[in-house]
Structures are given as structure tokens and as C-alpha cells.
């Protein structure tokens, strides 16, 4: 979910951008450490970035007559860790804002929090929790894809609802906006979240079958 240029303004835009820059700095530092520690897996950074960039740009039509897109950041978060996932998400969003009229520079921080923390962090966290309770890799990754996608839209609704509730001419209170936004997101995003669950689960299952040692090196599974 991209919040378009100009919707967030003033102090809120500055605060979101500052938070986004801090997250991005942490992500860049972790990416450098990842590349130094595992140079043979450096291409994974490019792959993860390309995956997030592509998946979060592609519009998928829903039966509601609107389009939306998956996130991609849950899979990147599981494979590369949440901080690296957030860094790659920040780069993807910057390119999308610069060249594809998706999102915006003034809303980059809010979009990074949404897609990075909602997708990469909550996806990673869900995967860890589900693995800790003993679920197989495909199920844990699928659950992570679902939760990461849903949390992305939860945070997007929260950011948007908050900003609109303090806008010049608010139509609802914050809770009213949240109900309206989530109810409008649900019919389109629900099926896409299920699709992201399937793709994330299948991708990690395939990697585990083909090259489990890569997952061990990355710390995704224990040896």
C-alpha cells in the first residue's frame, strides 16, 4: 500500500521521514555487515531488493473492481532478517517514488514503516514464533507471509487514518477512519494476502528442499 505524495504534510511528514531515515540507516549498516560476513550470499541482497520492488509494484485485480499488490517484504525478512528487509524495502520505495509515481518522497517514511515493519519485521517475527512452536517450514513461512501482508495493511490504515483524522476537514474520528479504511481494504487485500501466504510458503519449502545449507547459513533453520 502506497500513501500518495502530499497526503502526509508538515510535522507528521517530517516525523515519518526522520523515522524512515533512522530505519534505513540501520538497514544499510546491517546490509554492509551481511555482505562482509557472507560475501558468497551477497546476490541475495539484490534478489531480495528486486523481489520487493517488483512484487510491491505489480497491480493485481480483485473481484471488487480495484487492484492491489502483495508486499514481498515478508519473504525477504525471513531470509535476510528484518533489519536488512527494512533496508531493502526503503530502497525499493525510493525507486518507486522517483521513477514510477508510486508513493512519494514526503510519504516515503510512512510507507517504509508500513511495508518494512509491517511486512519484513512482522513476517520474520511470525516465522520465528511458528517455528518455535514446531510448525514445519512451509507452514511457518506461509503464516509469516499472511501476517506480514495483513500487518502491512494494518499499519497503512493506521498511518492514513491518523493523518486524515487530524486533517483540515476530517470526515470521521480515528476509529471511524480505521473502520472505513480496513473495511475498504479487506475485500481486495484479503485474497492477495492469501496468495502471498501460498507463495511465501512454497518459496521457502522449495529452498529448503533444494539447498537447506543456505538456510542454515542464513540462520533461517537450525542445523
Amino acid at each position: 500500500m502506497h500513501i500518495t505524495e502530499g497526503i502526509i504534510r508538515g510535522t507528521e511528514a517530517i516525523a515519518y521521514t526522520a523515522a524512515g531515515v533512522a530505519l534505513m540507516a540501520a538497514g544499510a549498516a546491517r546490509m554492509k555487515a551481511f555482505a562482509d560476513k557472507r560475501p558468497e550470499h551477497k546476490p541475495l541482497l539484490g534478489m531480495g531488493g528486486a523481489f520487493i520492488f517488483f512484487v510491491s509494484l505489480i497491480p493485481i485485480p480483485a473481484f471488487t473492481g480495484t487492484c492491489s499488490h502483495p508486499c514481498g517484504s515478508p519473504l525477504a525478512g525471513i531470509l535476510l532478517g528484518p533489519v536488512v528487509g527494512i533496508g531493502l524495502t526503503g530502497l525499493s520505495l525510493l525507486l518507486q517514488a522517483a521513477f514510477f509515481a508510486h508513493g512519494g518522497f514526503s510519504t516515503w517514511g510512512a510507507n517504509l514503516i508500513t511495508l518494512g515493519i509491517g511486512g519484513a519485521f512482522f513476517g520474520w517475527l511470525t516465522y520465528r514464533i511458528l517455528r518455535a512452536v514446531g510448525l514445519p517450514i512451509w507452514a511457518a513461512a506461509g503464516g509469516a507471509g499472511l501476517v506480514g501482508d495483513v500487518m502491512t495493511y494494518v499499519l497503512a490504515g493506521l498511518s492514513l487514518g491518523y493523518v486524515l483524522s487530524i486533517s483540515p476537514n476530517p470526515q470521521y474520528s480515528l476509529s471511524g477512519y480505521l473502520v472505513a479504511i480496513y473495511s475498504a481494504y479487506l475485500p481486495t487485500q484479503g485474497p492477495i494476502a492469501i496468495g502471498e501466504m501460498v507463495v511465501t510458503g512454497l518459496a521457502l519449502h522449495y529452498i529448503y528442499k533444494q539447498r537447506p545449507e543456505v538456510l542454515q547459513t542464513l540462520g533461517v533453520i537450525r542445523s
Partner: protein
Amino acid sequence: MTRPARAAAARLLVIFGMTAAGCFAASAEDAPRPAFSGMDEAVNERMAENAGAAPRSPYIDTESLGDIWNMLLLGAGGICGFVIGRWWHLLFGNRGKAE
């Protein structure tokens, strides 16, 4: 109907009710919009306009540059496809062969 089934049915009703209310709210003050527009436009931008926080044009508005936007989108898709496909094959595709 058992109690858990009734509770589940009630939850479903609440979800459908909220969905209907939200769709109604999002389509309030309807203006015709193109079919299959993105949720960014259909939901976010519409609500923002109603709240007096209308979005502004992108600083680099490639969408208004005709086929340039198509070129960028197709080029980016091709590059992403190559990067993902190539490295996926090298990293995960050759069981027992790749380092």
C-alpha cells in the same frame, strides 16, 4: 447450531457488515473512477481528498510522460526478472552443485 458455530457466524456477520460499511464510506461522494484502479487511488486518495488533504502530483511524474512510463515499467520488470531468476537458479537451483 452449536455455540462455537453461532459465535463464528456472528463474527462473520460483523466482518461483512464492516466491509459493507467501509465500501459505502469509501465510495461516498462518488465520482466515476476507472475500472480496476489501484486501492491507492480508490481508497486512500479519495478519503484524503474528502478530508481536505488532497494528494499532489509526483515530483517526477513519469505517468504523465506517455510511453516513457511503460518503458520504465517494462524495463524494471525485465531487470527484476533477470536478477531474481538468475540468482535464484545459481543459489537454489543446482542441488549439490553450487557452492
